[in-house]
C-alpha cells in the first residue's frame, strides 16, 4: 500500500462534508510533511487524524441531533412511548381488577371484590405513573412530564434489576427499560411544538384507542361476556407469548395495528426518527422473544421462567450494546437517507 493510499484510508474516517472541504488539501500537507522514502503513516499522524475524525463526527452528530426535526420527534416520542408503556404496565393490574370484579370474592359485591383485589404496589404504580406522564405530555406540561418520567423509568430499571437473577425475566423485561429511558430522555429535550400540535387530534385519539385496546381489559371483558366467540387459543413466539383466546388475539392485534398505523401516518421526517428511536426497543423485543433460539451466547444457562440462572457479565454487556448500537445505526441511517443526493446530469449532457 502506498503512503498516499494509507492516508486516504485514514481520511475516509472523516465525515463526508469534511472530506469534501479538506481531503485533497490535507492529503497534500501529509505528503509534503512526509520524509523522503517514507512508506507508512507516522503514529503521531495516525493518532491526530483519528482524533480529528472522531471530533468532526461528534460535532456533526451534535449538529444533526439538535435539528428541529429531532426536537419535534422528541415531542412526539414523549407521548407515544409513555402510551405504549401505559398499555404494557396497565394490563396486569387492570386484568386482575377486572377478574376480581367479574368473578367476585365470596361474600362481597362486585365493587367490594374490586377493592379486595390487593395488588402489589409495583404492579400498579408504573401504570399510574405512565398514565400521568402521557396526560401531562399531551397537555403541554412537558416539563412536569419529564420530571415524572425519570422516576418512572428508574422504576422500570428497578423492576428489571429485581429479576436479574432469573434468565428469562431479566431478558424479557429489558425492552420496557429501554423504552422508558428513551421516553424520559425525549421528554427532557426542549421542543418548540407540543406533541398534540404535531400529531393532530385524530392521531391522539387513535393512539388513545390503541392504548385502550392493548392495555385495558377490553379484550378480556369481551371474552368473558361473549364466551362463545372466544374461539381457540393463540400463542406465538413474538406477540402472544401467553396463550390468549382468538377473540383476544384479534382485539389485541387490532390495537397493535392501530398504534403502528398511527405512527406510520406521521409525516416522513418525524416518522423516520420515531422508528429510529423505536429500533433499539424492537431489537430487545426480538432478542427476548426469539433471539435466544438463534443466538448461542444466550444459551450458557438453562432456560425457563423459574430458572434462577442470572446472565453473566458478557451476556449483560451484549444486551446493553445491542440497543445502543441499534440506536446509533438507526440514527445514522436516517441521516444518510436524508442526505441530499448529487444530481446526475442526463447522458450526453456536459
Amino acid at each position: 500500500m502506498t503512503l498516499e493510499r494509507a492516508y486516504r484510508w485514514l481520511l475516509a474516517c472523516y465525515p463526508r462534508e469534511h472530506r469534501r472541504q479538506y481531503e485533497e488539501e490535507m492529503l497534500g500537507v501529509l505528503l509534503d510533511d512526509a520524509d523522503p522514502g517514507q512508506r507508512r503513516p507516522r503514529a503521531k499522524d495516525v493518532r491526530a487524524l483519528l482524533a480529528g475524525a472522531l471530533r468532526a463526527r461528534t460535532q456533526q452528530a451534535v449538529v444533526d441531533l439538535s435539528s428541529e426535526h429531532w426536537r419535534s420527534t422528541a415531542a412526539v416520542f414523549g407521548l407515544v412511548a409513555p402510551l405504549a408503556l401505559l398499555a404494557y404496565a396497565g394490563r396486569y393490574p387492570l386484568f386482575n381488577l377486572t377478574m376480581a370484579a367479574f368473578w367476585g370474592v365470596p361474600g362481597f359485591s362486585s365493587w367490594q371484590s374490586w377493592a379486595q383485589a390487593q395488588l402489589p404496589w409495583e404492579t400498579w404504580v408504573p401504570a399510574v405513573g405512565w398514565l400521568a406522564v402521557a396526560v401531562l405530555a399531551a397537555t403541554r406540561w412537558r416539563r412536569a412530564a419529564a420530571v415524572l418520567a425519570w422516576p418512572a423509568a428508574v422504576l422500570e430499571v428497578l423492576r428489571a434489576a429485581r429479576d436479574h437473577g432469573y434468565y428469562y425475566t431479566s431478558v424479557v423485561g429489558l425492552w420496557p427499560v429501554a423504552l422508558a429511558v428513551l421516553a424520559a430522555a425525549a421528554l427532557t429535550v426542549p421542543a418548540s411544538r407540543s406533541a398534540t400540535a404535531l400529531l393532530g387530534r385524530w392521531r391522539i385519539a387513535l393512539l388513545a384507542g390503541a392504548t385502550l385496546l392493548v392495555g385495558s381489559t377490553l379484550p378480556t371483558v369481551a371474552v368473558m361476556y361473549f364466551p362463545a366467540w372466544q374461539g381457540g387459543t393463540v400463542r406465538t413466539p413474538l406477540f402472544f407469548t401467553n396463550a390468549v383466546s382468538a377473540l383476544e388475539a384479534v382485539l389485541l392485534g387490532a390495537g397493535y395495528l392501530l398504534g403502528l398505523g398511527t405512527v406510520l401516518s406521521i409525516r416522513a421526517p418525524l416518522r423516520r426518527r420515531v422508528l429510529a428511536l423505536l429500533a433499539p426497543v424492537g431489537a430487545l423485543l426480538l432478542l427476548s422473544r426469539i433471539g435466544y433460539v438463534y443466538l448461542p451466547f444466550l444459551h450458557s444457562h438453562p432456560f425457563g421462567p423459574d430458572e434462577p440462572a442470572g446472565l453473566n457479565p458478557g451476556q449483560w454487556l451484549v444486551l446493553v450494546l445491542i440497543p445502543v448500537l441499534t440506536l446509533a445505526v438507526a440514527v445514522a441511517a436516517v441521516h444518510r437517507w436524508e442526505r441530499p443526493r448529487p444530481r446526475h446530469a442526463p447522458a450526453g449532457e456536459n
Binding site: 469534511h18 485533497e24 488539501e25 492529503l27 509534503d32 503521531k44 491526530a48 487524524l49 482524533a51
Partner: protein
C-alpha cells in the same frame, strides 16, 4: 467579552497568519519554528483547528492554487482573529508579568533556580 483562554496550537496558528496568508504545510513548519520544535503540530490537529477558526470567523480562505495537481489553500487572519489574538496576547503578557514579579520578589530566577 470574557473569552476562554486559547489553546496553544490555536494561538500559534493565529500567530503564523499575522504576517500574511499561509498554506497548510507552511503553517505546520512555521508553528514548529516559532515554538522551537516544542509543538509538533500534525495535519489532523491543524485542520481541526483551521475548521473551527473558520467557523468562528477568526480565519478565512485567502486563495486556492494547484501545485503539482494538488489543491493548496491559503488562509489569512480576519480582523476578528487579529483582535482575538491581541486580547489573548495581552492576557498572557499580564500573567507572565505577574508571575515574573512574584518570582523576583521571592528571590527566584526565571530559570527556576535561586537568583
Amino acid at each position: 467579552m470574557n473569552e476562554s483562554p486559547m489553546r496553544e496550537p490555536t494561538f500559534l496558528i493565529l500567530t503564523c497568519l499575522v504576517e500574511g496568508p499561509q498554506h497548510g504545510y507552511a503553517i505546520l513548519a512555521e508553528v514548529r519554528r516559532i515554538s522551537g520544535g516544542r509543538v509538533d503540530l500534525r495535519a489532523g490537529t491543524l485542520y481541526a483547528v483551521l475548521d473551527r477558526l473558520r467557523a468562528e470567523g477568526l480565519a478565512e480562505v485567502d486563495r486556492e492554487e494547484l501545485v503539482q495537481s494538488r489543491l493548496r489553500r491559503y488562509y489569512r487572519l480576519t480582523a476578528l482573529g487579529a483582535q482575538r489574538l491581541a486580547q489573548e496576547t495581552a492576557r498572557m503578557r499580564d500573567n507572565v508579568e505577574a508571575a515574573t514579579a512574584r518570582l523576583r520578589r521571592a528571590g527566584l530566577s526565571l530559570n527556576g533556580g535561586i537568583a
